[in-house]
Amino acid sequence: MLGIGGATALAGCSGNGGDGGDGETGNGTDGDDGTDGGDGEDSGTDTSTYATAAAASFTTLNPIYNDENGAGNAIARALDQGYTFNADNEYVPLLYDMSTEDGEVWTFEVREGLQFSDPYGEVTASDFVYLIQEVHQGGWASSVSATYWTGVEVEQTGEYEFQATLQSPQLLWPESYEPLLYPIPQDLLQPYVEEEDAEGLRQDEELLELQFSGNLGPYVLDEWQRDGGTQYSRNDDYYLQDADDLPDVFNEAPYFESAEIQVLGEQASRLGALETGEVDSAAIPPERVQEYQDNDEIYVNQIPQPYNEKLSVNMRDNGWTTGPGNMFRHIPFRQAMAAAIDKQSLIQGVFRDFAETHFTWQPRFSNFYPPEDNIPMFGVGDRYGSEYARGLAEDAFEQSEYEYGFDGETMVDPDGNQVQLSLYHSAGQETEQLMGEFIAQELGNNLGIDVSIEAIDGTRFDTEYYTTTDFPTPERNEEGEVTSVPDELVDTVDGEEVEWTSPTATNPGPRNITGNEDWDMEIVYGLNTFPRNPLTNAVFFDGATGSYNPVGYYPEFDAQTLFDNARQASSEEELADALVDLFVNIAEEQPYIMLAFPDSTVGYREGLEGPIENFSNGWNLPAWRYEQ
């Protein structure tokens, strides 16, 4: 439970729930449960059960295959991961400590006294090494962590020690969450490894029911009721009780006799359950925070998040459906859009002030946030407004080979018709819908664009519009090396010829390769900005071929060199310096129109001690308790 809520953070993409939710603060980094709540004492319910609500049921609790944040929290109740980060953003060893001298060779020291359930015995380095080498690196299992261990050399160096050698130094490797492992018994894995039976591994009951968890988590999973939730009882032997390198409060952890996560799909039900004390916490939508702040039995925490709200503009060939020449491809046009949307009003009106303005790809609480003097702040002050935005749009029109322009207040295409664009948001997400309406209004008022708002299911938008699996692939030899790249996968970017050697669903190739359906703009997804290890943002911005680039963004600055320089840094300070240029360029180019970082607002039952208003909220969940 201490560990990291889910490896999903690395996937970069979060369903932009806005108000949807289980109260999970969902930073995707800390096994943090905003959702968390137990039975409140005030309403006469017992304080012996720590009950929380989740908005969606779990696909799997198999630690090797889970990639959902919610299920990550459910697993974390019964099974810790390798390490976590505390309120001061410091590494806290749980199952193992990690150290390095040069960022290239990392030593893992496994804590002694970790026990699996019978018959698997003690957790040793060999369990982790086996898991990495045979499952994650085995090439047959398709485990969630497989990509993180590609090219990493792992070697056992003692009973409780192993080493990992990276291809290139990474000072912030732990912060990337890539070396985060669950403890899985070697003997449990062996039969599947020998048969290379991925399906069997995925469906193994011991893994699905976490029957091997021994003393490795604060609670023991009693039952997983699909669509209903999970129930746990206290693990009296929890290993952190004996850990002398953690605060004393862990000596008697956990402080509840039992725990449960209830799946309550309806927000009104989750809030009702919080009010009556049936759960200890729930996410509160911004428009109802005031109401709960006035409630004596509940207190509300405002927790900053690294997930952003941004407007994606489609630079691929299935974007800019209004006419010829995709204007989104011109930097001044994207700047004009950013300048046309009033960020402060958006935050006040839609997020009720529970959000931060978003100018570059880092939240303000990040240690890597660049000096603000360097960043162009579109959408506030002098850089907001009709005149300013139109000026930028005029610059973009000059760059275009087509004759776009303004006819009075209206932006018109070469035929003199008003520019009409579509904007997609998730169906049923009220906050998102409000945001969409506000954006449409601002683009209409300040740029004279006619924006139509469309509600769509997130999965459908993803499969039919945003991504595609229908893309050409390069030819490879037997060693897997690329031997030739089809012409469709080659394009000229910033004057240079670029080849897409590893196309993915989220970046299937150059701009001519697109999803099935046309779309102009979307606010369906929010993305992670990875404040603990900003180098992870390379997936978005490391050149036109970055693995996540559904919008077809081609950087017009040398992103790859800037990332390479940052990777060479030998200290955190050097890294921060190296990243300044990167973040300034991103703010300048607006690959996505950056809008806001909404805070997570979570209500807890009065008397619950432990929650903090910090991105690391939940790092010490087993030590949460009610005041005596």
Binding site: T59, A146, L264, A268, S269, G272, E278, V279, P503
Partner: protein, 324 residues
């Protein structure tokens, strides 16, 4: 054809119908893109592998490289041997998933169905017997209110009043509550009430209008003239013929409600039943589970229709199968 033969023929026909439906389902599935293959291609691409090779491997693994008829035979065999595969969205066998969900659905749908098919016609006949009186207006008002108010909205309102304000019912559903316990009654009373009010309206209105026809009929006049008590007269001579046309639409109506409204009610009350299972299976593209729940509903519809036809003979002795 005697009654026995008719039932036999109907059962055989039911098997044929289910075979046709499963065949159509199979063809639709065979024509649709398989998400698992898409996933394999994406995984391969992310790991720097060859997506097309991964697609081939995945197709082979899933037997999709076999000819269509071989796959069809395999499919039919596994359907009828209850080997319905693995649900990817719930990580458990499909049959187990369906049984589990059915267990929770049955706990509210049985009382719901029983109350609907008993209370609906009763109130309808009562309404007809007191036509245009204040009692009729109250019953009609109640029927239209239940019919008009969306179930999920009504559910939330009731939950707010009785759960949050008065705290007499729990907000969250406890799966560990024993089936026959006060705790279970407390947590199911609101969903059952919401569903009954939603479904009773149509039944009540139809039976009211049907029975209005019969209460002035010759056989009713005769019964009254012979001194039969009003209760007996209505129960035997009005209610019974009223039920015949009603029962033809009942199964279809209840099935439609079952799928539609039970989903919303399950979401609001947090019941892990068949509605949510089906919906989640659909949105997460869990083909095995979609197929499984389709088969369950097919089975219910086929058996329901069969029972309906048999019930005719009991309700209306004029219907017989001797000449068929």
């Amino acid at each position: 054809m005697g009654f026995g033969k008719y039932v036999g023929a109907r059962v055989l026909w039911a098997v044929v119908v289910s075979l046709i439906i499963t065949t159509i389902t199979f063809l639709l599935l065979a024509a649709a893109p398989n998400p698992a293959i898409r996933e394999a291609a994406t995984q391969a691409a992310l790991q720097g592998g060859d997506p097309s090779a991964a697609v081939e491997r995945e197709r082979e693994l899933r037997g999709l490289n076999q000819p269509l008829y071989v796959r069809y035979m395999d499919f039919i065999r596994s359907i009828y041997t209850l080997d319905w595969g693995w649900s990817e969205s719930r990580s458990q066998p499909v049959t187990e998933a369906l049984l589990q969900a059915l267990y929770y659905t049955a706990q509210y749908s049985i009382p719901w169905t029983v109350l609907t098919i008993t209370l609906g016609p009763l109130v309808g006949v009562y309404s007809a017997a007191n036509m245009y009186s204040w009692r009729d207006h109250v019953a009609t008002g109640f029927a239209f209110f239940g019919y008009a108010i969306p179930n999920f909205f009504f559910g939330i309102i009731l939950l707010l009043i009785f759960g949050v304000w008065f705290e007499v019912v729990p907000i969250s559903y406890d799966t560990s509550a024993p089936v026959f316990s006060l705790q279970n009654v407390r947590q199911l009373i609101l969903p059952v009430f919401v569903l009954v009010t939603g479904s009773i309206g149509a039944t009540m209105r139809v039976s009211r209008n049907e029975s209005a026809e019969f209460q002035n009929s010759d056989f009713m006049k005769t019964a009254k003239a012979k001194g039969v008590s009003p209760l007996r007269a209505y129960a035997y001579h009005v209610m019974r013929p009223t039920m015949v046309p009603l029962s033809t639409t009942l199964v279809g109506q209840l099935l439609a409600l079952f799928i539609g409204s039970s989903l919303l009610v399950e979401v609001v009350f947090g019941i892990p039943g068949l509605g949510r299972l089906t919906f989640n299976a659909l949105i997460s593209q869990d083909t095995n589970l979609v197929l499984g729940s389709t088969l369950v509903f097919t089975f219910i519809a086929v058996v329901g229709n069969l029972l309906e036809d048999l019930v005719f003979t009991v309700l209306d002795p004029r219907i017989n199968y001797d000449d068929r």
